[in-house]
């Protein structure tokens, strides 16, 4: 590809920007590793994997089980994604293909507002409105279900807005061709628009899942914070982020190193999962 001089300069600048973007995470991982080193050196890793309870402050029987919390992070995120993705995509379809223009603008503003509600407000709403409802079904109310629902509401706007944008980018020509072929609205949506927008929608879902795993404030208020493997959706759980948020401000230095190690493991596990999802996307024939 022949590049003129201005193009070469531009490419140089863009390469630097891309390198900057890609390497911020390396700094963060290095920071986590540095903080976690004392815990690794003192041999806490096997305890994180095989202990049964999380009681780092106990004088009598300190235990450091990370697995129930990792499982909780994965479960809460999966639940949130399962709830939010279909709703968000369906809502985006509704917005693009069913709503008249005036209402569509209001719908968009509403989603943007929901995206900006602070996590603490979501947490409080969850604790004062959602948890009592769940409590009536099955005490205590603070549970995997509550956390999943609150998280789903938090990531719904991201999925809906990016899906809307992706559906808007479907070439007009394809939709016209479908109409010309006599396809109904549903058929056009299902067989033409959605597949065409698949890549954009997938990106949005990926971003939303990543956000859900890292969400801290809202989850702490409604998940119950009991570090055990849940037996049902009504059981309280404690994702890794909740532990870091609850204990970081009050931890002794060895406890802190443990929390850094927990955070590091979470980031690596999440990275592996999202990497696998993105890889799956690419194999499905989309541009990464």
């Amino acid at each position: 590809m022949f590049l003129s001089r201005s193009d070469r300069i531009l490419r140089g600048a863009l390469v630097m920007l891309a390198l900057l973007s890609g390497s911020v995470v390396l700094l963060i991982v290095w920071f986590l590793v540095a903080g976690a080193l004392p815990a690794l050196r003192d041999g806490y890793l096997p305890r994180l994997l095989f202990d049964e309870h999380w009681q780092p402050g106990s004088a009598r029987d300190p235990q450091f089980a990370l697995m129930p919390m990792l499982a909780a992070s994965v479960l809460v995120t999966a639940l949130a994604a399962l709830l939010a993705a279909p709703l968000g995509i369906a809502g985006a379809v509704f917005h693009r293909f069913y709503l008249p223009k005036r209402l569509a603008v209001w719908n968009q503003r509403m989603l943007e507002l929901l995206a900006g509600v602070p996590s603490i407000v979501f947490g409080f709403w969850g604790l004062t409105v959602l948890v009592p409802l769940i409590n009536r079904l099955h005490p205590p109310g603070q549970s995997l279900l509550a956390a999943g629902i609150v998280l789903a509401l938090m990531i719904l706007p991201t999925i809906a807005l990016t899906s809307q944008s992706a559906l808007r980018s479907v070439p007009e020509s394809q939709l016209l061709a479908a109409a010309g072929l006599g396809m109904g609205r549903f058929a056009t949506v299902f067989h033409i628009a959605l597949p065409s927008a698949r890549s954009g929608i997938g990106s949005g879902v990926l971003l939303a899942i990543a956000r859900a795993v890292g969400e801290t404030m809202a989850v702490v208020m409604v998940c119950g914070n009991i570090a055990k493997f849940p037996g049902s959706v009504f059981d309280p759980v404690r994702p890794v982020t909740a532990t870091i948020a609850l204990e970081m401000g009050y931890a002794s230095s060895s406890h802190k190193a443990l929390l850094y190690l927990a955070g590091l493991i979470l980031v690596l596990v999440t990275g592996a999962l999202t990497g696998w999802l993105a890889f799956g996307k690419r194999n499905a024939g989309e541009v990464s």
């Binding site: 973007s21 963060i28 968000g88 917005h95 407000v121 709403w125 808007r168 549903f186 990464s288």
Partner: protein
């Protein structure tokens, strides 16, 4: 073979079903948002006033206003956007125009960006405190907060810009090349303007995210309630103010709700303004 009548009914049924599911999804958003806003209005509306918007923070935030907090918040968001948009858009441009997807450099950069998206918000706060505040010596400051937020919204901007660029009509780039335009000109005059609506979605979500983020800002831009002299000063963000009032200050619920209402209003104003600007911009290119 199905009769034409049953096929038409089947088509109408799936259309209706799709519409109903979509309507349920959209109304769910409306219901939840309405519920949240209703509670905020109930507790916070009586507390709102012009004095509240411009006054100083007093009595832990229970009386007085949020003037300094608003100024700090706006500065933090502006810095976050100004710092995150160039690398975000630049990285996406590089990935879409200068490199083939699936090659090692493309995958490495994309992987780095995606991994950044899943870092927990509290880890961002701790990282920001260690790196921007301590290592770079910026201390508790609006600048530290803005830079940390920039890191948080970067993956968002990269992904949405990339999607926008990749969704452009496939004949755009070959036509430009056929006309003899350099890539620089193509990008500046054709691709970026065309992709602007998509980029705007990323900016909008980025603004919303910046305003709603708490954990990352408590440790970086800090707790101070005085009017900031410069970005080097510490100044609490609106979300941190809401958090403190809700959690640590007894009887702070009214002020917290009022502050949350102001925050939502800010989002409405910023987003309406942004789409107004974008529409004007686009009209110049599409007319």
């Amino acid at each position: 073979m199905k009769s034409p009548v049953s096929r038409r009914n089947h088509r109408r049924f799936s259309d209706l079903a799709c519409g109903i599911v979509g309507a349920v999804a959209a109304s769910l958003t409306l219901v939840v948002l309405g519920c949240i806003v209703w509670d905020l209005l109930r507790l916070g509306l009586p507390h709102l006033s012009w004095l509240f918007l411009t006054g100083e923070v007093a009595d832990g935030g229970r009386s007085g206003g949020i003037g300094p907090v608003l100024v700090s918040t706006v500065m933090i968001v502006v810095i976050a956007l100004a710092v995150a948009i160039p690398p975000g858009v630049g990285c996406a441009l590089w990935l879409s125009e200068f490199v083939r997807p699936g090659t090692v450099p493309a995958r490495a950069i994309t992987g780095g960006v995606d991994l950044l998206a899943s870092v927990p918000s509290i880890v961002f706060g701790l990282f920001g405190m260690a790196f921007f505040a301590q290592v770079l010596g910026l201390g508790f400051s609006i600048l530290s907060g803005g830079l940390t937020l920039a890191c948080m919204i970067l993956p968002l901007l990269v992904r949405t810009t990339l999607t926008a660029l990749q969704s452009l009509p496939v004949d755009l780039r070959p036509s430009a090349a056929a006309l003899g335009l350099t890539q620089t000109t193509t990008i500046r005059k054709i691709l970026l303007p065309a992709a602007l609506p998509g980029i705007l979605v990323g900016v909008t979500i980025g603004v919303a995210r910046s305003l709603s983020e708490t954990a990352a800002l408590i440790f970086t831009s800090g707790y101070a309630t005085r009017w900031p002299d410069s970005p080097g000063d510490s100044g609490r963000a609106l979300s941190v103010h809401i958090y403190d009032l809700a959690m640590n200050i007894p009887n702070g619920a009214a002020a917290a709700s009022a502050s949350a209402l102001v925050l939502l209003l800010m989002i409405l104003v910023i987003n309406s303004f942004a789409s107004f600007l974008a529409e004007r911009w686009l009209r110049r290119y599409h007319s």
